[in-house]
């Protein structure tokens, strides 16, 4: 079998990529994609710890991952609707230019 820490390192790498995309990208949709990557990395960790854990017959890891997937879908739907709405009124999806609330 594949050792557990291979999965964990893979998840850490995906999370770092997501972190970079979420913080450094100018485009709001790219930042949202970074958040999706981070959620996927978390899911890999959940399932990997379930698989290598002591109580394999209890499926909490998978249940949790399924809930995360469903919540991520809801989050993407609302997030993209927000971006489309902002684009309509401001004609931009550039996060640096959306600074109306900045003091």
């Amino acid at each position: 079998m594949v050792p557990l820490n291979w999965y964990l390192v893979l998840a850490a790498f995906i999370f770092s990529c997501g972190l970079y995309a979420a913080l450094a990208r100018r485009n709001a949709i790219a930042a949202l994609m970074g958040i999706e990557l981070m959620l996927n990395a978390v899911n890999i960790n959940l399932v990997a710890f379930w698989r290598y854990g002591e109580f394999v017959e209890r499926l909490e890891g998978q249940v949790f991952a399924l809930f995360v997937i469903a919540v991520a879908a809801a989050e993407v739907a609302v997030g993209l609707a927000l971006i489309i709405s902002v684009y309509r009124s401001r004609r931009t999806v550039n996060l640096d230019e959306l600074d109306l609330l900045q003091g």
Binding site: L8, I14, G18, N40, V56, L59, A81, N94
Partner: protein
């Protein structure tokens, strides 16, 4: 074959080779998503990464989760993101850089985060082998039972959350 025993590391098993293939695919997708300047390439890289994660689930013997991943992430979320790109693009293309002024510090922080986490992870004596599973039919049946017994409240709240998300998204996105 002579000489193979003399390698400094043990030869990978079939599963490990497959893991490396799938991990390579996922890492490529994640890198394209994070680094490619073209938004459309980001979306395609994201699809690649989602597929890779589904492969990881298959390797972890969580087949139902792998199917859910392909159906929801690749089938629905990636489509939604592509539509959103088509709905918002236009003046965004090629005019300015794709990263903001935090780019350098964020890159350093992300790389450090990955290196520190990896350094921690490889030094822990994780279990190498998971226990034997009951079989995927039994697992899916157990999942179904958990949704209507132990996790009934989160399950119904999920329906309400989806309803709220749908209503909110329609209100926000409608003309």
């Amino acid at each position: 074959m002579p000489g193979l025993d003399a390698l400094p590391f043990p030869l990978p098993t079939v599963q490990q080779v497959i893991f490396i293939l799938i991990a390579g695919m996922t890492v490529t997708g994640a890198l394209i998503t994070a680094l490619a300047p073209n938004l459309f390439h980001n979306a395609l890289g994201l699809v690649l990464a989602f597929f890779g994660v589904a492969g990881v689930y298959v390797l972890l013997e969580a087949e139902f989760l792998a199917v859910s991943q392909v159906l929801i992430y690749v089938g629905a979320i990636a489509t939604l993101i592509t539509f959103a790109i088509m709905l918002t693009r236009g003046m965004m293309f090629g005019r300015t850089s794709s990263t903001n002024r935090l780019m350098l510090s964020t890159a350093i922080i992300s790389a450090l985060f990955f290196l520190v986490l990896t350094g921690l992870l490889v030094n822990v004596a994780w279990p190498e082998i998971g226990a034997e599973l009951a079989g995927s039919e039994q697992m899916i049946a157990d999942l179904g039972e958990m949704f209507v017994t132990t996790y009934l409240v989160p399950f119904e709240l999920m329906a309400l959350l989806l309803l709220a998300a749908l209503a909110g998204a329609i209100l926000l996105a409608r003309d």
